[in-house]
Subunit: 239 residues, 6 copies
């Protein structure tokens, strides 16, 4: 099966990670997975939410949103509608949980880092691009903090990257673009650490329920994809 | 490892499925997984949402909520706060997607079924109990419709059940109660069809990222659990 | 005039008061007036609202809500609509005021009790069932507090019960079910103490304005009804 | 007992009813009960709410609100807080129900009248002043409609007036001002028709529950007060 | 060109400023520009917003709103809609900024004054009438504070008044009424100090963009108008 | 006086206008005024708001927003707070009005264009950059429509550009950056057409009220700035 952009089934789209995109943020990254473009900003606060005060532990949270015209047709703004939709909530929570998996709260001290992931252009895989880029923004924010000796230790115990996989017409594909995502019978988002373990596995039968062997094939594909994204992150952070 | 209620690691809590709990609903079930108690109501409407009108296809959706004192300490009402939280949104969407996996929209005709899942008592596994009970309420609502010849065909192509699994102190456990859920390092909710295929797999590393072999052990456990829940559903529907 | 369930005009529906329905609440009651079923939970907090701090006085408040399919046709959730309707507000306030009438704030100390009254099945008289049940839940919560020596004295100076009365086709009826409520020209909710005094009298001419003698007949009927409900409460609390 | 403004216990405050206060409204009244001042505007619409369309019947509804500095200390605006409080909801509903008691929906035809009651100065009895004034605004709006032959018949079958009564230090008092209202043990709002029948009776034990004889004394006082308010309305409408 | 009320192009409508309209407010004014009637209330608080605490500086803010039937046709309440519209926000901010221009925050001390401007009758120029009246209410509130020695100095360094000007059919007009405002091609609101300097200049091309010479003509007209309004304010404050 | 980036008082920051930044939008521009970066997207809809249907006329509207970390310190999202702030409302309305000044609604036909202006990086002048960029996005959307023969005529009768001016330490400055904006005593935003007429003039005395001669100096500066921005727009559109 030929993919419409000529990729092989197990090939990522071109990945670009541009650090320092925002002049004021403690960490910021413009991440591109093909046409999908997400601006990730890490903001450091020297305080924690109320329920965590006095614990000596830090906190990391995330907010995801899409610009109204990131998509094919214009979407109404959630600020104008006066409430956040279920999809936005769900993805914000996923990004937050994923990044917390690589953070040592004690080493972070009573500080918070908020990761704002705003989708400027959407072409499938916005949540996985957001997680992959947000990790780099987080790493930059942690460097910024450590330079100022804000943290008692090194809060980053690992790295985190994410990729989508899915079955389109019986073929397992890596890193689905929008048209592939729409056509997929099964769709899975996988978040992994740099050391190759799972943080989140979210598989959904969009059309037909899937078998264990399909699940296995998708996990293999995602594992390989996350490994390559981890390399992209390392390169970006070492440049 | 002994579980505090004496269960073996691969044992479900006692399951009760009481049909017809609400006098007016087209289908209704009080489902109990141990102390966890969810009231599932299926409401039939002879119309579909605007975006689906004229398509000849039906729709199934779900809303999940928790009574303020279902839990250990009182939770503020989302109606009073004026907005639905991210967790509620996420679970409502999960229940809806899960049930849609066993529905043939064409056979349903341009009708909608709303599944209200209200947690009366919470002791872990509320979303999986909700899915398991909601399927039975849905089946009753479909029978009600078919008796009135509202559907062009049989809209139920399979059944759907769900269970939680997790790793507590290195042991994979089936159907976590609240204290086990809090202690779990990894937590997974699995939704399967009666014919043994996956509808949703949602695994989350709460504390430590998990390996592929852990993931496999959890999937095995969940598969066995869903098989037993499917039997409970069949019994309930045949009584 | 025969009532459709065979009751005499001055007869209550069968009343059931089940204590301890929720495992975690300090007091909880499932109250049934015929098909009308309300779950009443009393939650104790060792603090008071800000405007009352430092006064040495306690506070009691209530929140009323209805499950979406408690009624004949499904009602949209107030949490989804993003605001509480006028009817919900009004009944919550009525329940709170009614229960406060039997409470000695000084003897309660600077503690709060919230009464959550959630209607699981609605067939008329949900607010009066809620008040009658909530009193028992409140009494259980007070016992719980006294066992822990949280209160400086005995906060309950009396008991409180409530019943609806109305004129249907010239006949004054006690404890209206839904179809009677809809048919009533005049509708009155009466809250009384166990010692036979009035806490709230809310009479409304739904169709035709009513005379003083009609008002007197309804108050007689309600007084007799509340006396019997007080006995039900005593029995429940002594079992 | 002397009242602080020298009134006898059964005496109303000075009542002023100024018609035509707003240049554009179909009916408008500035009503004063002593210092309490409410602006009542009746707005005619040649349509009815959706649930009533095609019925041939009209509708009357009301909205009550208070300016932020009508009271002793400033109250936050409900528009700024983003939601309407329980008290506002409750009073709006009471005013609407009260006025509907004197309206023949069929004679009104498929038209609506909205009564906006905005409290400019509050000194107790704002809801009863609002009802008393709103009736006159309604009557003017009906005249306006009948001049334009919008109604199939005469929609006003009676008049409606309201007054508050209460027990302050064992004495039943008519038309409580703010300081009396705060001091009252029992507080009752009574809405009556011009022909002397009851539309609404809302009695509340603020401090101590009240006996049947107290209730009777308050109803006598309220009946006399409403009779005098009805005369004020007639004078205003005939000038 | 004749104006429909016979005014010359550079003539204000009759201006009335009634002080002390509200019994409880520290300052209150009913201001009328022809039929436009705005109730302005100044409320003093002996505290400042959180971001200003400990600064030794005071704060002045404003809230503008319109009663539903101030206008030709009824407008829905913003409290019922659950949010404040853009126009309301914009005018509230304009009034606050304008009045702050004549306030010495240091002399005010850590106190706040809120100016509530509620339009009772609207016939064009509601925001300029609000500013002109609010200044007088502010001055009364400041007198009230100074009598109680709440302020370290005299917080009023100047006075502030406002007027609208516009081009209707090539003629520059002062103080537009509603029908003129609707017909205007260019519309400008000008806020000036009593000493003749500009605080705000807000010119908008409603239909056709305007030239520099038009702008100059409008500013001349507005300057003369504000001078006369300043005299009205002085008279009101000296009576 | 030297400006901190070395500009002369009457000099614009470097202006960049990048067209076609979004793959799906009918018109899109990334506009930069120095570090201030705004993404402007024009979305075409072949319908108009309800109040305009059947008129044969089109409509143009705008929505402005800022990403949370566009600024020095993180700003909470308006979608999370559940309401749009006054500043956002005000700027959205300003952008919409400004662009409508160059549109012939009849030539546009019953179509709408929404202009989304999202600030990615903020360093002063975000609203003026937004207007200047949005015009170019609008022009591209109009070309897109004309190619598809959606418009009865040419809807663009002129161009529109905007710039900020202000007095900092007695010197009138063009195109203020953030630090200059904060230091400005008087601040003015001026919107002009390509043919040199005024669309909006919004001058505000932040600290000290300003004289007529100051106003004149600022208008001269703004006129020159808008002329140069108009040239930038022409170049961008001809490339």
């Amino acid at each position: 099966m030929a993919r419409h952009d000529g990729r092989s089934p197990d090939q990522l789209r071109p990945v670009t990670i541009t650090r320092g995109w925002l002049p004021h943020a403690e960490g910021s990254v413009l991440v591109e997975f093909g046409a999908t473009t997400v601006l990730c900003a890490a903001s450091v606060q020297d305080s924690v939410p109320r329920w965590r005060r006095g614990s000596g532990l830090g906190w990391v949270t995330a907010e995801y949103a899409m610009l109204p015209r990131a998509t094919n047709t214009r979407t109404d703004r959630e600020s104008v509608r006066g409430k956040i939709g279920g999809r936005t909530h769900e993805i914000s929570r996923l990004i937050g949980r994923s990044l917390r998996a690589c953070v040592d709260y004690k080493a972070l001290g009573e500080n918070s880092i908020v990761l704002d992931c705003d989708v400027l252009r959407a072409d499938g895989g916005t949540r996985t691009a957001a997680i992959t880029g947000a990790y780099v923004a987080l790493a930059d924010a942690v460097r910024w903090m450590r330079k100022r000796k804000m943290c008692p230790g090194d809060p980053l115990v690992d790295s985190v990257a994410a990729v989508s996989v899915g079955i389109v017409g019986d073929t397992p594909l890596l890193d689905l673009c929008y048209t592939e995502d729409v056509a997929a019978e099964t769709d899975m988002n996988v978040v992994m650490t740099g050391s190759g373990e799972f943080v989140e596995v979210q598989g959904t039968a969009e059309g037909v329920p899937f078998s264990r062997s399909t699940l296995d094939a998708l996990l293999d594909l995602a594992t390989a994809g996350c490994t390559r994204l981890t390399e992209h992150q390392r390169e970006a952070l070492s440049s």
